[in-house]
C-alpha cells in the first residue's frame, strides 16, 4: 500500500445487539444494516456497485452474494463472500479496497448480520477433518479449542487466571460507557469473573462472549470520492492477513500463531509502529485472544501480557485505549458481525464522534479480526489522515 491511502470508510452502521431476535431473518438484518450504513454515508443504494458478505447467510449455503444482491435490489460489478470467521469483517475492508483499486467497482458495502432466536442451535454444520478427528473424542465447539490454547499459554509462560480475568474486567468496564452494549449497566470485577462457572477449564463463563443477534455494515470507497463525503473519511492505511491452520491440534507453536505475522505486516504497510496507535480495537471472542494479540503486536514480550495488563490502564483515557466500545466481551457477539464491531468503533473514534468515551487525539487505530481458533487473522491500521 502506498504512503497515501487509496481508499476510505465513508459510512457505518451497527444494530443494537439483542440477546434474542424475533420476527427477523438474517437477510432482513443485512438489509437494515446496509440501509443505515448508506444513510450514514449520505449515498443511495444505486451508488453501491460492490458487495462483500459473510458465508452461509441464513439457510443459503451457496450463491450468497447473488441472494443478498437480489434481496437488496442492487446489481454489483464485484461481489464475494469473505469466509474468515471472526476475521471476516476486517478481511472485507482491505478486499473492498483492493477491488476498488483493481477498477472492478467504486463503492463497496461490507455487511455481516446474524439472527439469533431462542432455541437456535449454536452448533455449526459438520466439517471434516475436525468432524472426523476432534468431535468423536468429546471436543466440539470453540469453547474447547480456546480452552486448550489458554491452558498452553498458562503452562508455557506461567500466566495466571487473574491475568486473563483482568482483560474481561476492562471489557465490562468500557461497556459501561456504551448504552448499546449487551452488558451496559452490568460491570464485573475480577473476582466476579473468577467466580463465574468453569465452562471448559481453564475458561470461565465471563471470559467467553455472549451470543446475540445483530448486524453491521461498512461502506468503503476510493479516497478521492471519500473526500466529498458526508463524514470525515477514515482511511485504510495498512492491512495484514495470515492463516496458519484450522483445527487447534494443528496450530503452530504459540509464538508462531498468525497474529505474529499479520499485525506487523499491517503496521509496516501503514508505515507506523505500535506506539503510535491511539486505539486498540482488538478481536476478543475470549480473554486469551486479547492476551496473545497484545503479545503479537509487540506491546509486551511473548507470555508477558499479565504484567502488561496489571501495569497499564485500558479505558478511553487510559495508557492504551482498548476496545472502548466494550469489545465483544462487553458488547455481545452477533456471530460474524461481532468482528465488525471492532471496525465500527475505530471509525467512531477516528471521526471524533465517540462522545463520552472519545479517545483524545485519536489519529490511528489498530483493528484485528480472528477466526476459528486463532487460525485466520486480519489486522488493519485505520487513520483519520490520508
Amino acid at each position: 500500500m502506498a504512503t497515501q491511502a487509496q481508499s476510505a470508510i465513508i459510512g457505518i452502521s451497527e444494530l443494537k445487539p439483542v440477546r434474542y431476535s424475533t420476527g427477523q431473518t438474517t437477510l432482513s438484518l443485512i438489509a437494515e444494516s446496509v440501509r443505515l450504513a448508506i444513510q450514514d454515508a449520505g449515498i443511495s443504494k444505486d451508488d453501491v456497485d460492490g458487495l462483500l458478505v459473510g458465508p452461509q447467510v441464513g439457510e443459503t449455503p451457496q450463491h450468497v452474494p447473488a441472494t443478498v444482491s437480489e434481496y437488496l435490489g442492487i446489481d454489483p460489478t464485484m461481489s464475494n463472500t469473505v469466509d474468515l470467521g471472526g476475521a471476516s469483517g476486517a478481511g472485507m475492508i482491505w478486499r473492498a479496497s483492493a477491488a476498488i483499486q483493481a477498477g472492478m467497482c467504486d463503492t463497496v458495502v461490507c455487511v455481516l448480520a446474524n439472527k439469533h432466536e431462542k432455541g437456535d442451535s449454536l452448533r455449526s454444520p459438520n466439517r471434516n477433518p475436525i468432524r472426523e478427528f476432534d468431535v468423536p473424542f468429546g471436543a466440539s465447539g470453540a469453547n474447547t479449542s480456546y480452552a486448550l490454547l489458554k491452558r498452553q499459554h498458562m503452562e508455557e509462560y506461567g500466566s495466571t487466571q487473574e491475568d486473563f480475568a483482568t482483560i474481561a474486567y476492562w471489557a465490562r468496564k468500557n461497556a459501561q460507557l456504551n448504552p448499546n452494549a449487551i452488558f451496559y449497566n452490568k460491570p464485573a470485577e475480577v473476582e466476579d469473573i473468577l467466580a463465574s462457572p468453569m465452562i471448559t477449564d481453564p475458561l470461565h463463563l465471563l471470559e467467553i462472549v455472549m451470543p446475540v443477534a445483530g448486524g453491521a455494515a461498512v461502506v468503503v470507497t476510493s479516497a478521492d470520492k471519500a473526500a466529498t463525503g458526508k463524514h470525515k473519511p477514515v482511511y485504510l492505511k495498512g492491512a495484514g492477513e495470515k492463516i496458519t491452520h484450522r483445527a487447534v491440534s494443528q496450530a503452530p507453536a504459540l509464538e508462531s500463531l498468525p497474529f505474529y505475522s499479520s499485525i506487523p505486516r499491517a503496521l509496516e504497510q501503514a508505515e507506523t509502529n505500535v506506539e503510535d496507535i491511539a486505539l486498540f480495537s482488538l478481536y476478543d471472542c475470549y480473554t486469551s485472544v486479547v492476551a496473545t494479540t497484545l503479545e503479537s503486536a509487540g506491546l509486551c514480550k511473548p507470555g508477558k501480557f499479565g504484567e502488561f495488563v496489571r501495569n497499564h490502564t485500558f479505558g478511553h483515557n487510559g495508557d492504551y485505549p482498548l476496545n472502548t466500545h466494550g469489545g465483544q466481551l462487553g458488547f455481545g457477539q452477533a456471530d460474524l458481525a461481532g468482528g465488525m464491531s471492532h471496525v465500527i468503533e475505530a471509525v467512531h473514534q477516528l471521526r471524533g464522534e465517540a462522545g463520552n468515551r472519545q479517545v483524545p487525539n485519536a489519529r490511528k487505530a489498530l483493528v484485528t479480526g480472528n477466526g476459528a481458533t486463532l487460525s485466520e487473522t486480519t489486522a488493519l491500521v485505520l487513520g483519520g489522515e490520508r
Binding site: 452448533r123 459438520n126 471434516n128 477433518p129 468432524r131 472426523e132 478427528f133 476432534d134 468431535v135 468423536p136 473424542f137 468429546g138 471436543a139 466440539s140 465447539g141 469453547n143 474447547t144 480452552a147 486448550l148 490454547l149 491452558r151 498452553q152 503452562e155 508455557e156 462457572p197 468453569m198 465452562i199 471448559t200 477449564d201 481453564p202 475458561l203 483445527a247 487447534v248 491440534s249 494443528q250
Partner: protein
C-alpha cells in the same frame, strides 16, 4: 441416551488409520520423499507436497501439550459424561493430535508422557490416551 455419541466420519483416505485402530495398532503416514510423519491422514504430504505416503506402525507415545476439563460439552451426547478431559498430544513421530485423555485432573501435568489406550465409544474403537506406564 437419546442422542448417540458421534463416531468418526471415515473417508477412503483415512480408512487405513481406523482399520489399524480396530486391530489395536496406531498407524501414521510417512512421506516417501521428506520422511516426515503426518497426521491427520492425507493424500499429499503437507510439508513437501509429495503424493506418495506409506502407512507405518507408530509408537503411540507422546507428550501432553495442553488439555481442558470439559464441564459444558459442545455436543449434547457428551454432556452426560462431563466432567472429562480432552487434550492435544505431540506424538513422538512429530505430528499432534487431539484426543480424549484418561487421566484424573489432579494427576495431569504439562508435557507429561502419555500413550495410546484404545477405548470403545459405542461401536467405535477410538485412540484415547492415558498416562505412560513406567518402563525400566
Amino acid at each position: 441416551m437419546n442422542i448417540s455419541l458421534p463416531g468418526p466420519t471415515i473417508t477412503p483416505i483415512s480408512e487405513p488409520f481406523w482399520e489399524g485402530i480396530k486391530a489395536g495398532e496406531f498407524r501414521l503416514q510417512q512421506c516417501e520423499q521428506c520422511e516426515r510423519s503426518i497426521f491427520y491422514p492425507r493424500a499429499h504430504c503437507p510439508h513437501c507436497f509429495h503424493n506418495s505416503l506409506t502407512w507405518k506402525r507408530a509408537s503411540g507415545k507422546g507428550k501432553l501439550k495442553t488439555w481442558s476439563v470439559i464441564h459444558r460439552a459442545g455436543h449434547p451426547a457428551w454432556q452426560e459424561l462431563t466432567p472429562y478431559v480432552v487434550g492435544v498430544v505431540a506424538l513422538e513421530e512429530g505430528p499432534s493430535l487431539l484426543t480424549h485423555v484418561l487421566i484424573e485432573e489432579d494427576e495431569i501435568a504439562y508435557n507429561m508422557n502419555v500413550e495410546l489406550n484404545i477405548r470403545h465409544i459405542g461401536p467405535h474403537p477410538l485412540p484415547f490416551f492415558k498416562k505412560q506406564e513406567e518402563t525400566i
